[in-house]
C-alpha cells in the first residue's frame, strides 16, 4: 500500500472508464461499461458536460454478484448484442471496472462474440477503474483508430492513390503495417533539446516514405490549397476543454495562422463524424492533450504522420504553429512544442530566483494544456514556469524542469518551492503557506464544483495578470 494513496481533502482525477466514454462520446458508437452500478452515474454527473442535452449510447452492464462469480459472460454478450440491434450504433466499445478485472474478464473474446452476434464492429478498451482518464481516453482513441478508422483510412488512401494512377496492389503494399514497422526503430529514444524523450526515426524510413510520396499525406493537395499545413486535432475532450467555445477558439487560433483543420477527435465542435475518415490525409497531427498521444503514435506508426503536442494559447500560439510547419516540412516526427519553447526561454531568462529561493511560478494539471499555458506565461511574463503533473502516461510530455507527483503530501512539497501556483481551486486546501494559488478550474479534477468560474483559456490566457 502506497502511503500517497491516502487522501485527506483533495479529490481524485476522472478515472479511465469515464475517459473512454468521454473520448468516444460524439463518434456515433455505443460504449458499455462492465460494472455493477455507479460508473455511469459518476461519469455523467461529474465527468460529462454533454449528458443532459446530447444523446450518446453509454451504458453499464449492471453486473451482479452471481454473474461476477460464475463468469456469466453470455449475459453480457446477449445484452449488448440485443441493445445494438435495437439502437444500430456505428461501433461498440467495451470497458471495465475493478470486479471484471479481478475475475479476469476476457474483453477481447466478449467483443468478438458480440461482433459475431450483431455484425457491428466491436472492440475492447482495457480499463479497470484504477487509472486516470488519460489512460482510458487515450486507449479508447487508439483502439477506435485501430478497429474502426483503419479500414476507412486505408480505403481513403487507396482511392487517392488510384486516382493518381497507383494500382491497388502497390497501394496496399504501401499501407502494410509491417512495411512501416520494419523501417521504424520503435520507441528508440533520443534526447531532445528540452531533455524530454523524442522517438527517433531511422533515416531510412524517411527516404522510403519519400519514395512513396504519392501516399504520404505531406504532399496531399498542397498545390490545391492555400493553407500552409493540414492537421488533425487529437485529444480534445470536455475533460480538458470544458468551456463550450474552447474547441472552436482553439480551431480559430490555428485557422488564423493559416493552419487548415481536417478533423477533430473527439469533441468535434459540430463536425460531421463521417469526415473523420479523411484524417489520414493530414500533414500533421496536433496533440492537444495527453489523451491524444496514443492515437498520434498509432497514426505515426501506421501512416507516418508526424505529430506536434501543444495548444495555441496566448504568446505560445505562434511558436506552436511554426512547429507544425516544421513537422510537416522537415519530416520531424514528434515535437513537444511547449517544452522547446519553455526551455529556449528559460535559458535566456535574466530573472533570478527570488530571495526565498522560490521559483516564481508553476502550473498544475494535464501536461499538454498546462505545458502550453506554461510556455505562454513564460514568454508573457519573462519568467521560467514549471509544470507539476499528477497524471499518468505523461512522462514523454514533460521537460527537465517539470515534476510528476502523486498524492497530497508530494503535491504540497512541490508547491512549497514556488511563489505562485496556477491550479484547480480544489488544490487550495493543500497549498502551503507562502505559496499563492491562482484559480484555474479543471473539469477532470473538480468536475462541476468550479465550472461556473471556467473561462475559455484561448480568450483569457492571462487571467492572473494583476496577481503574479
Amino acid at each position: 500500500m502506497r502511503i500517497e494513496n491516502s487522501y485527506r481533502i483533495i479529490p481524485c482525477y476522472t478515472a479511465d472508464v469515464s475517459g473512454v466514454c468521454s473520448a468516444l462520446y460524439e463518434l456515433g458508437g455505443m460504449v458499455v461499461m462492465h460494472d455493477p452500478s455507479g460508473c455511469n452515474s459518476t461519469y455523467n454527473t461529474h465527468d460529462e458536460t454533454r449528458w443532459y442535452d446530447n444523446d450518446s449510447l453509454i451504458y453499464i452492464t449492471g453486473l451482479t454478484e452471481m454473474d461476477a462469480i460464475m463468469g456469466n459472460d453470455k449475459k453480457v454478450v446477449r445484452d449488448v448484442a440485443d441493445a445494438a440491434k435495437r439502437l444500430s450504433p456505428k461501433f461498440i466499445a467495451l470497458c471495465g471496472s475493478p470486479i471484471p478485472f479481478l475475475n479476469g474478464t476476457d474483453y477481447n473474446a466478449i467483443a468478438a462474440l458480440i461482433e459475431k452476434e450483431c455484425g457491428i464492429r466491436t472492440f475492447a478498451v482495457e480499463t479497470n477503474g484504477m487509472h486516470d482518464y488519460i489512460r482510458g481516453a487515450g486507449a479508447a482513441l487508439r483502439r477506435y483508430s485501430e478497429c474502426v478508422m483503419k479500414p476507412l483510412w486505408d480505403k481513403v488512401l487507396i482511392q487517392k492513390n488510384m486516382h493518381r494512377g497507383i494500382n491497388i496492389a502497390e497501394s496496399v503494399h504501401c499501407l502494410n503495417k509491417d512495411f512501416v514497422n520494419e523501417n521504424i526503430s520503435q520507441k528508440s529514444v533520443a534526447n531532445s533539446v528540452a531533455g524530454s524523450p523524442v522517438y527517433k526515426i531511422n533515416t531510412g524510413i524517411s527516404q522510403t516514405l519519400a519514395e512513396h510520396a504519392e501516399i504520404h499525406p505531406h504532399n496531399y493537395d498542397k498545390s490545391d490549397k492555400n493553407h500552409s499545413a493540414v492537421i488533425n486535432i487529437l485529444g480534445a475532450t470536455p475533460l480538458d476543454f470544458t468551456v463550450e467555445s474552447s474547441v472552436c477558439s482553439l480551431k480559430n487560433a490555428l485557422i488564423n495562422r493559416d493552419i487548415h483543420i481536417l478533423t477533430s477527435f473527439s469533441a468535434s465542435c459540430g463536425e460531421d463524424v463521417d469526415k473523420l475518415q479523411n484524417a489520414v490525409l493530414a500533414d500533421v497531427n496536433l496533440v492537444v492533450s495527453t489523451v491524444g498521444m496514443p492515437m498520434a503514435e498509432y497514426m505515426y506508426e501506421e501512416y507516418g504522420i508526424p505529430y506536434v503536442a501543444g495548444i495555441p494559447v496566448g504568446d505560445f500560439a505562434d511558436t506552436l504553429c511554426k512547429d507544425i510547419l516544421r513537422a510537416a516540412s522537415e519530416n520531424n516526427p514528434r515535437i513537444v512544442s511547449y517544452n522547446d519553447a519553455r526551455m529556449q526561454f528559460a535559458k535566456s531568462s535574466s530573472l533570478p530566483i527570488n530571495n526565498n529561493d522560490k521559483l516564481p511560478l508553476a502550473v498544475i494539471g494535464e501536461a499538454v494544456t498546462m505545458g502550453s499555458l506554461a510556455a505562454a506565461l513564460s514568454v508573457h511574463y519573462n519568467i521560467p514556469v514549471s509544470l507539476l503533473c499528477p497524471l499518468e502516461d505523461s512522462d514523454a510530455l514533460l521537460s527537465a524542469s517539470d515534476f510528476k507527483f502523486r498524492g497530497e503530501d508530494q503535491c504540497t512539497e512541490l508547491m512549497r518551492r514556488f511563489e505562485h501556483v496556477i491550479a484547480d481551486p480544489l488544490y487550495l486546501p493543500i497549498c502551503p503557506e507562502g505559496t499563492t494559488l491562482h484559480r484555474l478550474p479543471h473539469e477532470a479534477f473538480s468536475g462541476r464544483c468550479c465550472r461556473q468560474e471556467m473561462k475559455d483559456i484561448f480568450l483569457y490566457p492571462y487571467e492572473w495578470q494583476d496577481k503574479l
Binding site: M1, N5, S6, Y7, R8, I9, I10, P11, C12, Y13, T14, A15, D16, V17, S18, P36, S37, G38, C39, N40, S41, T42, N44, T45, H46, Y52, D53, D55, S56, L57, Y59, I60, T61, G62, L63, T64, E65, M66, D79, V80, A83, R86, L87, S97, P98, I99, F101, L102, N128, G129, M130, H131, D132, E408, L426, P429, S446, G447, R448, C449
Partner: protein, 471 residues
Amino acid sequence: MFSDNMNDKTLPTKEYSVSVRDAVFPKPFYQGLEFNAPAHGNWNIVHIGMLLPEARQIYVCADNCMRGVVLTAAEMNAEDRFSFVLLDEADMTVGNLEDVTIKGVAACIDKLDSHPPVILLFTVCVHHFLGCDLDYVYRKLGERYPDIFFARCYMDPLLQKTRPTPDQKLRLAMYEPLKALPVNKHTISLIGSELPLHKSSDLYKLIELVSGSRASNAIKLKEISSCTSYKEYLTMGESALFIADFPGALMGLEALGKRLERPYLYLPMSFSYDEIKGLWSSFAQALYSYCIKGSKANAKCTLPDHIQKLILTDIENQKALCENALSSLRSLIGDTEIRIDYVFHPRPLGLARLLLEHGFNVSTVYIDVISAEEEADLDWLKQNAPDMLLSSTVQVEARIRNRNRPDVLAIGQKAAWFSGTAHFVNAVYGAGLWGFDGILRLCELMEQAYREEKDTKDLITRKGWGCASCV
C-alpha cells in the same frame, strides 16, 4: 428470462414501456444494460452519511468509484469531512487487502488535526469479492484508535440486486454508535430520514393529540437531520420509541430497536386514506403506551376513549380537507397529462391510484422495480387503469426516447427529464409528505408546478435535493 413476445404476459418485457395490464410484479422490465438519466436529486450514501454530526467518512476503493463520492462531498461543501484510500492493482492482487485497508485508513486519520468521534468506513465490492476479513480490519482499527467509533458502511453495488443496498446498510450503520441510555418516555426518534419532518406533519399533530395540553406529557420527536452535534445525536439513545417512515430505513429501524431493546414502529408514507387511518391508530397507541404510560416494549395499552374520539374526528376533518384540495386541483389542471417517477416517492403507484381515483389524467409512472408495499396498488391499477404505462428509467431506449412534452405535469425529477417539461414537482424520497398533510401539501406542490415553470436542467442535475450545493 424476458419476453420478446408481447403476447407473453408472464415474463419481464424488454420494451421501454409496458401497460399496467401487462406489467409483471415485481420486475416488469428485463434487467439488461442500464442507462442513467441526468436527474440526480436522490441522496446517495455520502449525503446520507453526512447527516451524522461530526462524523468523518473514509472510503477505500478504486479511482472510478471514488470519483463519484469524493465529488459528492465537494459539491455539498463537505470535503473537509471526507477522506479516502485509492486501491490499485497491486493492492488487490497481493492478497493483503486487510493490511492495505488498515494502513490506508490509519494514514488518513493520522493526517487529521484531531480525531472525529465516529468514522463511517466504507469498504466496497472488491473487499467482498476478495473475501477481505472485515472483522479483523475493524478490530485492528478499533484497537489503534479507541477514541473513534468505526461504523461498518458499504459501497458494494455488486450485491444490491439480491441483498440489502448500500443505502439500506448505511441507514443501519449510522445508528450503531447509539447506546441504550435510560429511557426518557417523553422522547421518540425518527430513524433513517434525510430531511426533517415537516412541522405540519400528521405525526406532530398526533403527538400533540396524544400528549394533550399537560406540559408533563409533552413528547419530543428527535431526528438525526436536526441534531447539531454528536453529543446531541447520542441522546437519541434515550428514546422510548423509534419510528421510521421510509422503506429504506426499515432494516435499520428493526436492528436499532432490537439492539437497544426498545419498541419500534414502521409508519410508511402512504396515499391511501384507509392505510393512513390505520397508521394514525398504530402511532397514537404506541405513543400512549410508551410515552404516556411508560410501558415496556410490546406491552401496548388501549387508547382512552376521549383520545380515540379526537383522532376519529380529526381523521374525518383531514379527509374532507384532502377531498376539497384534490377537487380544486382537478378543476384547475383538468385533463393535463401527469407523469410520476419512483424517486419522487416510494409509493408512486399509490400516488397514481389516488390521483386516478380523483379524476386526474395520469398517463405514466417511471419505475423499474415495484415494491412489495405496492403490490395491492398494482392490482388496483390493473383493474381500473389498465392502459396506464409503466416506463423504465434504465432500459437502453430510455436514452433516445422523445423528450419533448412540455405540456406534461411531472411529479418528480426523472419524470420531468423524460418528459422534457418545465412544469414539475421538484422533490425526492417523499419530501416528508406524510399522511393527510402529505396529500394536502402535494396538492399545493402540483398547483405550483402547474402554474409556474422551473429551470429543469439547473434543478434536477444537482445532487442531493435539499442539500447544500456549490454547483
